[in-house]
């Protein structure tokens, strides 16, 4: 078996707020191989962003605090590294594309300058003109028209989609081994979304980078990910290969998410939606955090008292539920 590129073990992160403690990530473990694409899905507040930011030491401390776990990148644990040591990883080995392209670029610095900086900081000995040439090349690669001219413009002169492309160009600048995209299209128009995803795919192919794609959109995940992690209340509730998750989901939450995707083939008269609200992360329900909303085990005492552990439910397929078998049949019941 090959050594994974990234292995996250038992990661736990909390935010110590003045009046409460938010356990944003609770014992999350996963791994990712070279060239592989991992999708992370889950409702708002489920800890997706905090998980990936922690890997690069980017959560604000305080109030954030990593309370446990490891994040091995090529065998090296990144969590205890100093900011200075992390610098050579950030943007070079692992890079990120963020959710909101409108706020993720510095408004008072030219796009080209920000791009050149990403190159320069990891290759300070290379000449300015080389960086510039490469910067223009990168803008061209992500499909920005007139890259020479665009290089010298400010972010506000770019459209939202173009800014996200520029972000992708910046992320790919040093040919990272891992590209993390945190809801890269959520803030964009539907028509632009597809283009940006294409750009992302192309960039990934160009460099052969592994990638993590965080999204609310299961449909998108099915198009580009090899494996998926489903998160709920800062925990992984199900993990598996894309085909298994879509054809044999085992966790009621995953099943609910899948049932709420609009589908072209199955014409449902009414789209399913998971009842209730995502949990308040400062007051996560005891037992299985999903129980107040669960159609399968919501009424059972074991679900209210014992938090289920992640367990094998198939080949490279895990779920954290006391009643995975019933969940599967509940799904069959609904489909008919």
């Amino acid at each position: 078996m090959q050594v994974p590129l990234l292995t996250v073990e038992n990661l736990s992160v909390r935010f110590n707020m003045p009046d409460q403690v938010i356990n944003a990530v609770n014992g999350v473990s996963f791994s990712l191989n070279t060239g592989e694409t991992l999708g992370i899905v889950g409702e708002s507040g489920s800890g997706k962003t905090v998980t990936v930011l922690s890997i690069l030491g980017l959560i604000p401390k305080p109030p954030g605090e990593i309370t446990g776990g490891r994040a091995l990148f090529e065998g090296q644990d990144l969590l205890p590294l100093s900011t200075e040591a992390l610098r050579s990883i950030r943007g070079q080995e692992i890079s990120m594309v963020f959710q909101d392209p409108m706020t993720s670029l510095n408004p008072v610095i030219k796009v080209g300058e920000q791009l050149r900086e990403a190159l320069w900081t990891h290759n300070p000995s290379d000449s300015r003109s080389n960086h510039r040439r490469r910067g223009v090349e990168l803008l061209d690669m992500v499909g920005i028209p007139q890259p020479e001219r665009r290089y010298n413009q400010f972010p506000h002169e770019y459209s939202g989609g173009m800014r996200q492309r520029a972000m992708i160009a910046m992320a790919m600048a040093n040919r990272p081994k891992l590209l993390i995209a945190d809801e890269p299209t959520t803030a964009l128009d539907v028509t632009i979304q597809a283009q940006v995803i294409e750009t992302l795919k192309a960039a990934r192919q160009e460099t052969g980078a592994a990638s993590i794609l965080i999204t609310h959109d299961l449909g998108l995940v099915s198009q580009i990910a090899d494996r998926v992690i489903v998160m709920y209340a800062g925990r992984i509730v199900e993990e598996g290969r894309i085909g298994d998750i879509f054809s044999r989901p085992r966790h009621p939450y995953t099943i609910g998410l899948l049932a709420s995707i609009p589908s072209i083939t199955q014409r449902r008269t009414k789209l399913y939606s998971i009842p209730g609200q995502p949990p308040d992360m400062a007051n996560v329900p005891p037992g299985c955090p999903f129980h107040p909303r669960c159609a399968v085990g919501g009424e059972r005492s074991v679900c209210r008292s014992d938090s289920p552990r992640l367990a094998e439910v198939g080949t490279r397929h895990q779920a954290a539920c006391h009643f995975t078998e019933e969940a599967a049949s509940w799904l069959t019941g609904r489909a008919t």
Partner: protein
């Protein structure tokens, strides 16, 4: 950009027109007309009438107004009767120069202190540096300028007679003395202004430091120094320019008390002296020049701002 400048200029001219009209109205509405003000209450009716005639106060009001505006437009500020018919501009402008000198040096010192202090206290939020900076700003905020000024005067001129207790000697006459006379008023004004600017800088930096683009800059692998002093600072500096400009404008018009304490013959001092000697012809021009300085400073601030912030300049 040109249109922006033109619009701001027009705006400035409009404000000046309103101010000069207001000065005209106020100085003619006050009980006892300018002639009575100049002569005082014990003047003879003949003198009074003669002065009214000389000042043109017997002309219809619109003629007076047009004459006033016309003179201002030509830059003719008139002669002061109480000052032996000296040109008013020869009194007001040197005073303005002395006030500007004081204000500029104070602002400069305040900025030199406040920018690094505010930045460091934001970057090291919650550490001892931050606490010290906050004690300093709270002190600066809570202490009235005159208390600070008088305190310094007692300390450095009375108890330890290191500095002259105020006064003014032109730089060309005695540079050393000139500078030593500047120290206390500059320290007084600068400490209060620095407190205000430090707080502003700290708040601005804190806001910017949690911005998404600062996270992006870190994610790229930039050094902390580059993130803080380039990405964050550039954004925090833009509103600071406005704040510095506004403070400077306020100083120019608000120097009255300090100039009295340190006997610095600036614009505020001139205004008080002219009021005491009933030189209304000087007071009205001093008020006008003070307002004009404020308008010009604000205009320069706006232009600098638009030049610094690409979102305004090029949209």
């Amino acid at each position: 950009m040109t249109r922006y400048v033109a619009r701001r200029l027009l705006h400035g001219i409009l404000v000046m027109w309103i101010v000069s009209t207001a000065v005209f109205v106020i100085f003619r509405l006050v009980p006892g007309d300018p002639a009575a003000m100049t002569l005082g209450f014990d003047a003879s009716p003949e003198d009074y009438e003669a002065l009214r005639e000389e000042l043109g106060l017997n002309d219809p009001i619109h003629v007076q107004y047009l004459r006033w505006m016309g003179n201002l437009a030509r830059g003719d500020f008139g002669k002061s009767i109480t000052h032996g018919y000296a040109e008013v501009s020869s009194l007001v402008f040197p005073a303005l120069g002395r006030t500007l000198e004081l204000a500029a040096l104070s602002i400069l010192l305040a900025v030199i202190v406040a920018v690094p202090l505010g930045m460091i206290s934001a970057i090291r939020e919650g550490t001892w540096v931050d606490h010290i900076a906050r004690v300093f700003t709270t002190l600066g905020f809570s202490m009235p300028t005159y208390v600070m000024g008088i305190g310094l005067l007692i300390l450095l001129a009375e108890v330890f007679p290191l500095l002259p207790p105020g006064g003014y000697v032109p730089f060309g006459e005695d540079p050393v003395k000139h500078l030593s006379q500047l120290i206390m008023p500059v320290l007084t004004i600068a400490s209060v202004t620095a407190a205000r600017l430090t707080r502003f800088m700290r708040a601005g930096m804190l806001e910017v430091l949690s911005a998404d683009y600062v996270r992006t800059a870190r994610a790229k692998g930039l050094t902390e120094r580059r993130v803080n002093y380039w990405h964050a600072f550039r954004n925090a500096a833009i509103p600071l320019v406005t704040e510095v400009g506004v403070n400077f404008g306020l100083l120019v018009g608000g120097m009255v008390v300090i100039e009295q304490i340190f006997i610095w013959p600036g614009l505020g001092w001139l205004m008080i002296q002219s009021i005491l000697t009933r030189a209304f012809d000087v007071v009205q021009i001093a008020v006008l020049v003070s307002a004009a300085t404020f308008v010009i400073v604000n205009l320069l601030v706006d232009l600098t701002y638009s030049w610094l912030d690409p979102r305004i300049a090029r949209s």
